[in-house]
Structure formats: C-alpha cells, structure tokens
Amino acid sequence: MSGPVIEARDLVKTFGALTAVDRVSFAIEAGEIFGMLGPNGSGKTTTIRMLCGLMSPTSGSATVAGADVVREPDLVKTRIGYMSQAFGLYRDLTVEENLRFYAGVYEIGADAGERVEWALSAMRIAETRGRLAGTLSGGNKQRLALGCATMHRPPVVFLDEPTAGVDPAARRTFWQIIRELSAQGTTMIVTTHYMDEAERFDRLAMLSRGKLIAIGTPTEVRRSFGENVTLEDIFVKLQETVT
C-alpha cells in the first residue's frame, strides 16, 4: 500500500449558519487504529458521514480507499464497512440470517457461506447463530454488527461509538477483535468518549467545535497540551468550553 488509505483535505460542512466541520485535514495509513475524540457536537459524526459518502462536504475533498467521496460515493460504499452507534441490524432475523443478508448486499457471491462462517468464529458468536438478533446481549449485538460490516473484507471500517453501553468484559473482547482486524491490514476509524480507550489507538484526532485541535499518537496528543496532563483532563476541559 503506497500512501494513506484515507485522506481528508480541508473538509467543511455547514448546516445553515452552523459550521459543523471547519477545514479538517488528516491522513490515515493502512492498518491503523485511528481514534476520533471530541465532545458531542464537535463534528466527529459529521466527518465520518462525509467519509462514508453519506453526506457531501460543503467544500474540501476526501479519498477513502482510492475512491473520491464526492464524485464516487457509490464506490466508497463498496470499500468500507460501517457500524452505527445504534444497533442497525434486523432483530427479527437470526444471527446467521443477518450475516447472510449482508453477504448478499455486498455481493460476496460463491464465498458467502465461507464468509458467514468466518464472521461467526472471528466475532465469537458461533454459538448464537440460530438466535434472533433482537435477543442477543449488548456485546454480542456489537460483534454481530461488526461481522456484518466486515463481511466483504473492506479495507476501511468506521465504528461510531462501538462500545457505548457494553460491559467491560465485552469491551475487552471487542478491542481484541479490532486489533486482529487491524493486524490483517484493515484500517479502523473509531469514535468514542471512553477516555481509557483512547490509549488503545495507534493515533487519534481531537476535535472541538468542528476544528481539528490535535492529532498524533496518544502520547503526542497528551504532550501537545503540556506535561503531566491526561487525555481525560483535556477532554473535560474541551467539554467545559462547549458548555
């Protein structure tokens, strides 16, 4: 892989008078676990939506896995996986049926059966395969959603607040899986507001009021705010400036 897998150049998104994302630029390398941190309203969800081709930027440009988000949003969608904050799968379908459905949606073709088996075991949900998705625990739902989003081996996966409302043991398993995917070369972009998770990112970007205020490894970001500061301190301070 030569060059960054995601590149955002001066992304701007305005809603009426509100500038939700204000000239944000960054580059993400293949296989990175990249964190996006910021209080509510900082612009991280809007940034992700633009990168997924769901929203076109007011100005600026971005490429994701070689596809231009403005000119080729449909191509972008074939090359990314996306897992929304709210459980977005069919509660009245079984685990296996949800996986099969997304295998069809992503046109896996002849390998579909094999990919479904892969997802069941890689996501540690093989024993739930016949259960309706609506009856799963929070952690299992999360992993099923990740399985559906990675069904087609996308080079880039977006995870929006993936561990919100999930118990610590399930969170640990989830991070384990994310590291495994990353080791296989998948780029993971994760938003979170659990500060203890921030240390797990290879690199992270801090957003505040639509602006990118810091980017780098967790240590670099911490240092940019001064000595002996924790990420949590920075986050709390950011949140205060908002309210």
Binding site: M1, R49, C52, G53, L54, M55, S56, A65, G66, D74, K77, T78, R79, I80, Y82, S84, A86, F87, G88, L89, Y90, R91, D92, L93, E97, R100, F101, Y102, A103, G104, V105, Y106, E107, G109, A145, C148, H152, R153, P154, P155, G185
Partner: protein
C-alpha cells in the same frame, strides 16, 4: 489494495445486480413470515370483508316492513294489497287503525311503507270513477325506497291496464306493446355479482397501501435503514425489495376472494384468468407504490397510517366501488379519474362479469400501468438515500 472490490468496472457491478436483489427479497420474505399477526391479518381479512360486504351490504332492498290502512275492506282492496306484496318489495305487517297511526308507524320506524286505501275504493272501481291509492314510503334511504316506489308504480299501471281493457270489452290478455327487459351479464340482478370484483379491488388497495406505508418508516424507526444506507444498495433496489413480497401477498388475497366469491356468491369468471392476474399485477404495484410514497413522506408509523387513511375513503366513495360513477357530479367524477381503483374496477368487472378480453379494457390497463410506473418512480425519488 488487496480487496476484490477495488477498481471494478461498472459492467461487472451491473451483472451482480441480481445478487443484491435476491438478498433483499429473501430478507423481506423471512421478516414477513415471522410477523405472524400481520400475516394472519393479511390472509384473514379478505375473507371476512368479503362476507361482510357480500352479505351485509346488500343494496337489493326487498321486503320493506309495510303497514296497511285499508278503509275499503273489500275483496278488491285485498287483491291490490296482495299484488303489492307479491312484488316482494313489501312485507305486510300489522294493519294501521287510522291514517295518523300509519304515519306514526313510519315515524317510529316500525314500518318503512304504508298502503292507504280509501273507503270508496271498491265502489269507485265498480262505477268507473277514478280513485286514489296512496303508498307512503320512508325515503330517508333513497336506495331502499326506490325499488319499492318502482314496484308500486308497476302494480298501479298493470291494474289500470287490466281495468281499462275489461271496460273496453277486450278479452285477450295480451297487451299491445310488450316492453321486455333483458338484463345482460347479471340476469338475476344480484348485487353480489357487482360487489365481489369491487371487493377484490378495494381490499387489495386498502390492505396493500397500509402495509407498505409502514414499511420504510419502520426501518427508519428501528435504525436498520441507517445501516442499509451505508451499503452499496441503491434506492431502486431497496424500494423494489420492499414491494416484492407484497406482490405475492396481493396475489394470494386476490385468489382467496375469487375462490370465496365463486363458492359463496356463485360469481362466475367469464373472462380470462390469465388476463385478470396480468392486469392485477399493475394494480397491485400501483397500490404498493402509493403506500411506499406515503412511507417516504412520513416520519413515524402513525403518520404513515394516517396518510393512507386519506385515500381509503375516496377509494370507496369515488371509484365506483359502491356508488355508480355515472351518478356523480362532474367534480367527483373527475377526482375518481386520479384513483387507480377506478380503472381496476372497470377492468375487473369487464373481465369477470362480461367476459371481455384485453381489446375492451386496454385503456384502463394502460392507465394502471402508468399509475404503477409513476407512483413507483416518485417514491424512489422521494426516498432520500442520504441521511439528513
């Protein structure tokens, strides 16, 4: 890039179109099958409505409860009452003791008609003097009263003709001009024959519009739409997937009513079944698309259901389902032209009752096809693929 999806030519994606559609059809079918309550309703309601409309809403009004105030009390007056009763329109009940009593009985709803015969009825007839018989009919319900009025007039005319002929000394009982009516297609003038095709149409459109009206909104509310929207599925595929399973439901409902209609009401199917199913495909698609359109306009399931109720009433009132379009004022009649059911009913009645072929119903078929295409395109257009 190591993925198979990298840099695929558009033609390759196009050839893969069916796999996505297959996935979406399969998923919608499973969901439909698991929703047992809705499924039972979709199959049970048609039969219930057929029974309800077929038997209960019977506009062949016969046997009106009738009171008689017979002041003549003669053989002649009794013969007249018998003649009226023999038409089947009047069921003679308790007699009235006075004119006021007769009116009171109608006022109170104990009788719907009253026959008032004057004291000198028999005498006047004998002496060749004109006499008047009054038939009072409760006309609050015009349909119910009309056939009774018609029958009474006919009895009056026949009686007059016989009396005049007797006075003229004619012995032959053959009237000079005999106007013979021959009702075509429905010789027994059975209301059910007219109703059953109507029920198929009204039922299909009402059920299908409501079912699909909630289809997209439900996914939006459940959060599953957000997940679908980030996939390469395009809006045509999502919308086609939404209506496909219900095409089958529509066909099952239609077949149920056709079979039940022929068993319970002996509705004959004179035309081609194949043509019925072909035209129905267009009508079902139009109804489903209209429901989808409501679904894309509504934010909640409740709104979607309210929107679909908006068309249910015009469907029944303006389409010719219950009231003949010929009798409507120009404005209502014109409004009816914007309802797919109007065309479908004409087509169905034509094929089922008259046994006509496509040569007689092609304009209506064309209109249904146009409705289906335009409504489906509109709903796809309205379906915002992008999240606001």
């Amino acid at each position: 890039m190591n993925t198979a999806t990298a840099a695929l030519p558009a033609g390759f994606l196009a050839r893969h179109f069916p796999e996505r559609l297959r996935a979406i059809f399969w998923k919608e079918f499973i969901q439909m099958r698991r929703d047992k309550t809705t499924l039972r309703m979709m199959l049970g309601v048609p039969v219930m409505q057929l029974i309800l409309f077929g038997y209960a809403i019977n506009t062949d009004v016969r046997h009106l409860p009738t009171t008689v105030f017979d002041q003549s009390r003669t053989q002649q007056s009794r013969a007249l009452v018998d003649r009226l009763a023999a038409t089947g329109n009047f069921r003679i009940g308790a007699p009235a003791v006075s004119y006021a009593d007769a009116i009171a009985r109608i006022d109170q709803g104990r009788a719907r008609a009253a026959i008032v015969i004057p004291p000198d009825y028999a005498q006047s007839l004998k002496r060749g003097r004109p006499t008047a018989v009054q038939v009072l009919v409760d006309a609050t319900d015009p349909t119910a009263s009309q056939s009774a009025i018609g029958a009474a007039q006919l009895v009056g005319q026949r009686t007059n003709v016989e009396i005049l002929r007797a006075r003229a000394g004619l012995t032959s009982n053959v009237p000079p001009v005999d106007v013979r009516m021959r009702p075509l297609y429905n010789p027994a003038l059975k209301q059910a024959l007219f109703m059953v095709p109507g029920i198929i149409g009204a039922l299909l459109s009402n059920m299908l519009i409501i079912t699909t009206a909630i289809a997209v909104v439900r996914e939006r509310e459940a959060g599953t739409l957000e997940q679908l929207i980030v996939t390469p599925l395009n809006r045509w595929q999502i919308m086609t997937g939404k209506i496909a399973p219900y095409l089958l439901v529509g066909y099952v409902q239609m077949t149920t009513v056709l079979i039940a209609g022929s068993l319970m009401f002996h509705v004959p199917i004179r035309g081609s079944l194949l043509l019925i199913y072909a035209v129905s495909l267009l009508f079902i698609t139009a109804s489903l698309s209209l429901g989808l359109l409501f679904s894309t306009l509504a934010r909640t399931q409740a709104q979607a259901i309210q929107a679909s109720f908006f068309v249910l009433l015009p469907n029944i009132m303006l389409s010719g389902f219950m009231f003949p379009r010929e009798a409507m004022p120009a404005f209502a009649k014109a409004l009816g032209l914007f309802i797919p059911l109007t065309y479908y009913l004409q087509t169905l009645r034509g094929i089922i009752l008259k046994g006509v072929g496509i040569e007689a119903v092609w304009p209506q078929t064309l209109a249904l096809g146009a409705f289906a295409a335009v409504l489906f395109m509109l709903s796809v257009q309205r379906f915002h693929k992008q999240l606001e």
